[in-house]
């Protein structure tokens, strides 16, 4: 898998990896550097705090379970205006199956999470998505992380990665479908090209990617009760792309 540096623009984004395991730190740094990122790796929250002012970091990969100050506490501090770095992207590495850690992490303002052990390429895909989002819609300083996104009667809950219908009934979605939907919702009324969507699904879906997009879109339409032929919510754009046609309300 070869990724050009130009994908992120120049110079390459700077990533701060916070993990207490030395091998994981080194391997992760090496892996991310091979994919065109600059990496600084530190072992705990204290070192991370010290590294922050000097690195111009775009994103932090943060392990939740660390000795000393926990990842959750660090995330809370990071997102507070006091840190001065509230706009930095944040991906949390949570313990397997620790629902509460994950939910708290996302509520604290993590942009994404991955359960440990994660697949490196999936981490890369998530990382790219967060970086791209940051470029497209820079966070306002002190902007609160939205807990709910409402569109056309439907609700997305990023912290729990779930979709609720207008009656507040959870409608299950696959991981890929969720990523696709959140991408569309966050860029409502903007056309997303297939290439952009492909990138989102990479690392998640098996099989040919381009077909996967169409399949995922048609499943999403079914779930959103959006008639495929005359779709009102997720519209197909001539020339290859999709757009979510709805006003999005952040709560």
């Amino acid at each position: 898998m070869e990724t050009s540096q130009s994908l992120f623009g120049s110079p390459a984004p700077h990533i701060l990896v916070v993990d207490d395991d030395r091998d994981i730190r080194d391997l992760l740094a090496k892996f991310l550097e091979r994919h065109g990122l600059r990496v600084t790796a530190v072992r705990d929250a204290r070192e991370a705090r010290r590294a922050l002012p000097h690195g111009h970091f775009q994103l932090i990969v943060l392990d939740v379970m660390m000795p000393g100050e926990s990842g959750l506490d660090f995330a809370r501090w990071l997102r507070s205006p006091a840190s001065g770095h509230a706009q930095i992207g944040l991906i949390m590495l949570t313990a397997m199956g620790e629902e509460t850690d994950r939910i708290i992490g996302l509520e604290l303002g993590a942009d994404d999470y991955l359960p440990k052990p994660f697949n490196p390429r999936e981490l890369l895909a998530r990382l790219r998505a967060v970086l791209r989002r940051a470029v497209e819609q820079p966070k306002m300083a002190g902007e609160n992380h939205s807990r709910m996104l409402r569109f056309g009667g439907w609700t997305l809950e990023p912290a729990r990665r779930r979709l609720l219908n207008p009656d507040d009934v959870e409608v299950p979605v696959t991981g890929g479908e969720y990523d696709l939907l959140i991408a569309l919702v966050e860029r409502a009324n903007k056309v997303l090209t297939r290439d952009m969507l492909l990138d989102l699904l990479r690392g998640r879906q098996a099989g040919p990617f381009d077909r996967a997009i169409d399949v995922a879109i048609s499943r999403l339409r079914r779930k959103l009760e959006d008639n495929g032929r005359q779709a009102q919510l997720i519209k197909t754009v001539r020339g290859g792309g999709y757009v979510l046609a709805a006003e999005v309300e952040k709560m």
Binding site: M96, K116, P117, F118, V169, P172
Partner: protein, 442 residues
């Protein structure tokens, strides 16, 4: 029909009721014997008065008319009166003093002129003979001999007797039933608590109040529940610890695969590590009882099943055509979405792995919702249908590497179904293939 009732309450009630009725019968008998005494007294008095009355009638009549008078007297109860020259000569023993005395006493209630009083009184027989013979020598030395029947006292004649017996029986039956129900209530409470403990280890403890025996039993039960809870907690803790410790090396392994040049080798290695981490995941999920930690919410069950089928067809595009859903378009259900999805995924994955297809049918019945997942594979030997729900048990067919499996899918699924108050069972469908049936209460 069973002769001995099965319920402890009924048995105790019947025993106590029997005993009470026996006591009543004895009490009533004592009462009846008292009545006999009384009846006897009344009888003797009656006989004395009658005898003297007859004597008076006869003795006050002029001698020549006496036979005539006797003939005119009618005796309905078998009394015989005759005038004779001799005292009665019946072969009967002399009357016992206790009988004789009241009779003699009662004769004095009938006024007879002094001159006409009997000169001699002979008394034979008594209650035992059912006949009393009284001979009275009149002033003219002739005897008036009377045979007076003494019918046995009628003990059971009183109409109050049966009524009293029934009323007392009924009253004691009611009291007995109430008392027995009260007494056996703790047994029922204990049974309920044991059942609740079976379903949920963290069920609230029994109240340790009441009679001392009950308190002892409740304390013993709570101690046992505590031990079980600790055992489960220890198990969970151990599994979680193992899982956490394994996270780091598995993460390292996954990262290291990225530096293997041989792409084919890298993929294979990664697949092995994925399998390893899936096993750790399943062990952890089993240990921590996923279903209990997750909050309850309303989830579209129909869409959940379809989503699972979609995910599986993404994993195995070659069987995508054979993954079918039959059921309503939507069905909101109150449950734990992540746990339910995991349960359905396990069943669908089994169907795909062992049967190469999966037909999921969701049907809603009055009080429950039923999900069946059927495949067209070889099915399951009948004696394995229940055993496959044991943790880490794997059928011979699944031990090989081809299908993998860690022996936890079905136990986890069952835990989840039971945590929702339902269950999951396996059966073989007609025409070949296995069928998993999940029932969830509405």
């Amino acid at each position: 029909m069973k002769l001995i009732p099965s319920s402890l309450a009924t048995r105790t009630a019947l025993t106590m009721l029997g005993a009470l009725m026996l006591v009543q019968a004895i009490g009533l008998t004592v009462h009846a014997l008292d009545r006999v005494e009384l009846q006897r007294l009344a009888q003797t008095r009656d006989i004395g008065v009658r005898a003297m009355g007859l004597y008076r009638s006869v003795v006050l009549t002029p001698s020549e008319q006496r036979v005539q008078v006797l003939q005119n007297l009618e005796h309905s109860d078998g009394t015989e009166v005759a005038i004779s020259n001799a005292p009665p000569n019946d072969a009967l023993p002399p009357t016992a003093f206790e009988v004789r005395r009241p009779i003699v006493l009662s004769t004095q209630f009938v006024p007879v002129p002094q001159a006409d009083r009997q000169r001699e009184l002979v008394m034979l027989g008594g209650p035992e003979a059912r006949m009393l013979v009284i001979g009275m020598r009149m002033p003219d030395d002739r005897w008036l001999n009377m045979h007076l029947p003494m019918p046995p006292p009628r003990i059971w004649q009183s109409q109050h007797f049966i009524g009293a017996f029934l009323l007392m029986s009924l009253a004691s039956a009611l009291v007995t039933l109430w008392a027995v129900r009260r007494l056996t209530a703790p047994v029922r409470t204990l049974a309920r608590a044991a059942e609740a403990l079976g379903r949920d280890v963290n069920a609230p403890p029994l109240s340790e109040e009441g009679p001392s025996e009950i308190t002892v039993a409740a304390i013993a039960f709570n101690t046992m529940a505590g031990r079980i809870r600790r055992f489960v907690q220890d198990r969970t803790f151990m599994l979680t610890a193992i899982g956490h410790d394994l996270r780091t090396p598995i993460t390292r392994l996954k990262l290291r695969t990225e530096f293997i040049e041989d792409e084919d080798m890298r993929r294979k290695l990664l697949a092995d590590i994925d399998e390893l981490s899936a096993m750790v995941n399943a062990t952890l999920a089993f240990g921590r009882d996923v279903a209990i930690e997750e909050p309850v919410g309303i989830v579209d069950l129909a869409e959940l099943v379809r989503t699972v089928l979609d995910e599986e067809s993404d994993w195995w595009p070659e069987v995508a055509e054979k993954l079918v859903f039959v059921g309503p378009a939507h069905f909101p259900y109150r449950g734990r979405p992540v746990a339910l999805k995991r349960a359905v995924t396990n069943l669908v994955r089994n169907a795909v792995l062992y049967g190469g297809s999966a037909e999921a049918t969701l049907s809603v019945e009055p009080n429950l919702v039923r999900l069946t997942v059927e495949d067209r594979g070889p099915g399951i030997p009948p004696d394995e249908l229940e055993r496959v729900f044991q943790p880490f048990y794997r059928m011979e067919a699944s031990r090989n590497k081809e299908t993998g499996g860690n022996g936890l899918g079905l136990p986890i699924t069952r835990n989840i179904a039971r945590a929702h108050g339902g269950d999951v069972v396996l059966s073989n469908r007609q025409g070949g293939g296995a069928r998993a049936t999940v029932t969830l209460p509405l």
